[in-house]
């Protein structure tokens, strides 16, 4: 990517982060891309992302490199660190120099580990849309001095775009589930109608009478009507159901 002018890199990053409505969407892969865009576009050494479930548990991490991912995973386990604070308070964590007494007081395990890994400072931005927070983004520097404000705002903009992408994808996949339920409901109605006709022929009766027989069988055997209908059509139904009407 360094060959591209900066404006084009930026545009490409935003387009990439909006592109979530694909068949095989993988949320961790997507957040990994967010971390990589941050490192490419901002003056930071590494980026890490923590993701929460819809019920609010922080569960998984993605990062621009493996050491940062390990650090983020450890921070979930320790229940401390900038991402966790940012997620809980739903607001950004401004620049914190890591090799300080204050940082160590705040994050007794996270801060020393981050220094050990080679980082000098960190900021965190929430993955937030309105009051809905789905995770948080950490930006790490390995050189002296804080991240400047313009860069921080750009980082937040990337995080915002990614958040909309993830929420949109979640909404769609929920609707896919409802659509599947609707399809199953319609299919079962169709199967019941087909089985009525099938039974009517096998038993030599009318369609309504066949339906009565099928319903009674379902009730007597405590089986769902749709299941009985399916058995009728697949030829696996009880022989007593299929025999011609006795007279």
């Amino acid at each position: 990517m360094p060959e591209l002018p900066r404006e084009q890199q930026l545009a490409a990053a935003f387009v990439d982060l909006a592109d979530t409505l694909v068949q095989d969407f993988d949320v961790i892969g997507f957040l990994h891309a967010l971390a990589e865009h941050c490192v490419a576009l901002l003056d930071v050494a590494a980026a890490g992302v923590l993701l929460a479930t819809p019920s609010g548990q922080l569960v998984d991490a993605a990062a621009s490199d493996e050491r940062t991912r390990q650090l983020e995973l450890a921070s979930i386990e320790w229940d401390e660190g900038p991402c966790r604070d940012c997620f809980r308070t739903k607001s950004p964590v401004p620049n914190v120099a890591l090799a300080t007494r204050a940082a160590e007081m705040r994050w007794p395990r996270f801060a020393p580990r981050a220094v050990e890994v080679g980082f000098t400072s960190v900021v965190a931005a929430p993955l937030r849309l309105h009051d809905h927070v789905i995770g948080a983004l950490n930006l790490f520097r390995d050189r002296p001095g804080p991240l400047d404000d313009t860069q921080l705002r750009l980082g937040q903009a990337l995080a915002d775009t990614a958040t909309i992408g993830v929420l949109q994808q979640r909404a769609v996949s929920e609707q896919m589930t409802f659509t599947a339920q609707l399809q199953a409901a319609l299919d079962s109605r169709v199967i019941i109608e087909q089985a009525k006709g099938y039974l009517a022929h096998r038993r030599g009766t009318g369609v309504e009478e066949a339906f009565t027989v099928m319903r009674r069988y379902a009730r007597d055997h405590q089986t769902r009507l749709t299941e009985v209908a399916r058995q009728v059509l697949q030829g696996t139904a009880d022989a007593s159901l299929l025999k011609r009407r006795d007279r």
Binding site: Q175, F178, T179, L186, R189, Q194, H201
Partner: protein, 238 residues
């Protein structure tokens, strides 16, 4: 903006206590859109599509015709999410004749001159289509089109909300006769038993017969159910 007809309906929905969903006011909606009939086809996921609510004397025949021919504006809107506006089916200069040979003439023979199909979609999720028709040709006005888009969106939301909340999702969307093509499915099952084949194949035979005889699918289905029609020696038509 929600049209008054829909606003009224949404109010009845929130105070509706009976089982299932209050029937959609398709008659009032047709009036609002300047149409003579409206039909709601549900085709979620891969399902072939079921007419579940219908208003107007030609609606059933219009959908039947598309079932027999296996294509048409309703199915295109439902499957591909494309808007289908046919302001005059007798106009041979439009795409309809090339795309669906024989269909525009058959629609005109029903006494229908204009057909408009609106996809029911939420984002990329396809749920079905809302198809309206008029016995007189002519385009819908911009206001009518705007209302129709709003109606299709509202119905899509109702459908998805019903599927999400109903104990028996989907069934509560069916109006009184339930599936309008229930007899077609019954005849399919009967034929499958007669021919000792599966329902998919039986339905193809049923459609093939309707197509080759130029008859509505529902009529052929009723003949099968009344044992007036024997397709056993019919061979593979269509």
């Amino acid at each position: 903006m929600t049209h008054p007809v829909l606003a009224d309906y949404l109010r009845t929905l929130s105070s509706h206590t009976g089982p299932g969903l209050a029937p959609l006011p398709l008659g009032a909606c047709a009036d609002m859109l300047g149409l003579d009939g409206l039909g709601l086809l549900l085709a979620p996921g891969e399902s072939p599509g079921e007419l579940v609510q219908s208003f107007g004397e030609h609606t059933l025949a219009l959908e039947d015709l598309q079932q027999v021919q296996g294509h048409g504006p309703t199915l295109a809107a439902a499957r591909h999410g494309t808007l289908m506006l046919l302001p005059d089916v007798a106009d041979t200069a439009t795409f309809a004749g090339d795309r669906w040979p024989g269909l525009p003439g058959a629609i005109e023979a029903l006494g229908v001159r204009a057909v408009f199909s609106f996809p029911l979609r939420i984002g990329v999720v396809a749920l079905g289509a809302l198809t309206g028709h008029r016995v007189r040709p002519g385009p819908m006005s911009t206001d009518q089109l705007t209302d129709a888009f709003g109606l299709a969106d509202t119905i899509a939301q109702i459908v998805i909300a019903t599927a999400a909340h109903a104990e028996l999702p989907g069934t509560s969307l069916l109006d009184d006769p339930g599936l309008h093509f229930a007899e077609v499915h019954q005849a399919t099952g009967m034929l499958a038993a007669q021919l000792e084949t599966d329902c998919d194949h039986a339905l193809i035979r049923l459609r093939g017969h309707a197509f080759s005889e130029g008859r509505p699918l529902l009529d052929v289905a009723r003949d099968v159910l009344a044992r007036r029609l024997d397709l056993e020696g019919d061979g593979d038509t269509g």
